[in-house]
Amino acid sequence: MSRHSVVVDHIAKSYGRVKAVGNLSLDVGRGELFGIIGPDGAGKTTLFRILATLMLPDSGRATVGGLDVVADYRAVRGIIGYMPGRFSLYPDLTVEENLEFFATVFGTTVEANRHLVDDIYRQIEPFRKRPAGKLSGGMKQKLALSCALIHKPEVLLLDEPTTGVDPVSRKEFWAMLLKLRNEGITILVSTPYMDEATLCDRIALVKDGSLLGTDTPGGIVGRYPTALYAVRSADMHRLMADLAGYTGAASAFSFGDTFHVTLAPGTAPADLQSHLAALGHKAVCIEQTAPTVEDCFMLLSKKEE
């Protein structure tokens, strides 16, 4: 048995002249929680559709659980649980009817694998007689995950399960994923929220169909090449313009209540401090800060351009 659960080998896919995925390669280890991190248009959904055997790649090959997604597509379908980005359950069936339907399609029963979905399903069970179309966003998401899990898949493919979901529900959802990972299920999950990246074992940063980097979140952050400073002043709004106009600042991006700034070669934090003081900024504060995955993403995508 290969130690890799998902192998993507130079996969490319275009829609007419639009390149959705360009020559992308990555490996996901058995039992790994692997995140595909990138904005809309990065090619995440196309990649998931190819892995879920719903779409043929133009070139390259991919395997899931050692099975080829093109040649062995029927067998692949038996071992994956796929949660597409768009709500894909039957809105006219009730919560329990949906779950039963998905179990039956895969030749199993809800009872047989109840333990796998128990934690999640218990939260929506009070609404089991409600049509799925009438559930709130968070509950739909939990039902969709239950339906993707009910046949005990080897690999879970979750395409943007948390998009549009509030921060609290997102944290709960990730807690569920970590538990499933600990039960040995391989999880490939995509998200546009960079803060979720740190919860993965490994991540791939993608943009415009290309890979910007693959590593553990710590590895990605650890390779950030320069010192990063968090800068603030009493007038944050003007600070934005003043940082943009300062040649000593190589980059400046707003980050919550500070700006994350990298300095051009030869510029020291003290130079920035006196520059801002000369422009009349009060209460200037410059502190070195640890880069986040989002900092790395912006740096890497700038290099691409």
């Binding site: 990138g38 904005p39 809309d40 248009g41 990065a42 709130s136 966003g137 968070g138 509950m139 998009t163 549009g164 979901v165 509030d166 921060p167 609290v168 529900s169 997102r170 944290k171 546009p192 929220y193 960079m194 943009k207 709004h237 934005m240 991006f253 707003s254 980050f255 919550g256 209540d257 989002e294 993403f297 912006m298 995508s301 700038k302």
Partner: protein, 250 residues
């Protein structure tokens, strides 16, 4: 933020009930001219219902409110004329060209043909999209679409623009450039009422309200909220409040 501002949005115990479910429960607040007001809450907290009332799309069950000087219950048509609206889900018509979208929205907001044409040129030039006049909107990169959608929402110079999760899924650099547009609209005197699930964006707002189970549980400047809840980030403030939620419905 201490200077007195003209009030552009005012609500007084604004309430909406559906049967015996109270979606919005006696919310009262004021938003000033040119202010960037963040309207936060978990899914199902009542944000969308409140926003629909403020946009003149849904009649309050109880309480009152005014937007841009018009009563949301008795003058909803005047409210609609004086606001702009943009959401990630709906903003522009994908199968129309850029200029066709602008003509359509200009017409809807009662701008004349000549005025629409002049403003179209001016706006495309400002956004650096002159070359895209005849491009179908669906062929534009997402970041451009977003900028265009925002500019369309303020095309008719509304007093208030409502932005419903305007930056979802946008790449990190484009998301920040989008906020620069928000700042410049606010500087020009347009009041910005914005919802978001990115808590770093909550920090960019002048003031933030957080809804829990239909009520406003906190409302202040981000720095003051962090002090009040002794939390290092708005994310933490949000989580502490939202955990108190007891209801489960959208």
């Amino acid at each position: 933020m201490t200077r007195m501002r003209e009030t552009v949005i005012h609500t007084d115990r604004l309430t909406k009930r559906f049967g015996n479910f109270t979606a919005v429960d006696h919310i009262s607040f004021d938003v000033g001219r040119g202010e960037i007001f963040g309207f936060l809450g978990a899914n199902g907290a009542g944000k969308t219902t409140a926003m629909r009332m403020l946009c003149g799309l849904s009649r309050p069950t109880e309480g009152s409110g005014s937007v841009a000087g018009y009563d949301i219950a008795t003058q909803p048509e005047m409210v609609k004329r004086n606001i702009g609206y943009m959401s990630q889900r709906f903003s522009l018509y994908e199968d129309l060209k850029v200029w066709e979208n602008l003509r359509l929205f200009g017409g809807i907001y009662g701008l004349g043909a000549r005025q629409t044409a002049t403003k179209t040129d001016e706006m495309l030039c400002r956004l650096g999209l002159e070359g895209e006049r005849d491009t179908l909107v669906k062929a534009l990169p997402l970041g451009w679409k977003q900028k265009l959608a925002f500019s369309v929402a303020i095309f008719h110079k509304p007093r208030v623009v409502f932005l419903d999760e305007p930056t979802g899924g946008v790449d990190p650099a484009a998301r920040r450039r989008f906020w620069e547009l928000i700042y410049s609209a606010a500087d020009s005197g347009i009041t910005v009422f914005v919802t978001t699930h990115y808590m770093d964006e909550a920090e960019y707002c002048d003031r933030v309200s957080i809804m829990v189970d239909g009520r406003i549980e906190a409302l202040d400047r981000p720095a003051a909220l962090k002090r009040q809840f002794e939390a290092p980030t708005m994310d933490e403030v949000f989580r502490r409040l939202a955990r108190k939620a007891t209801r489960q419905s959208d």
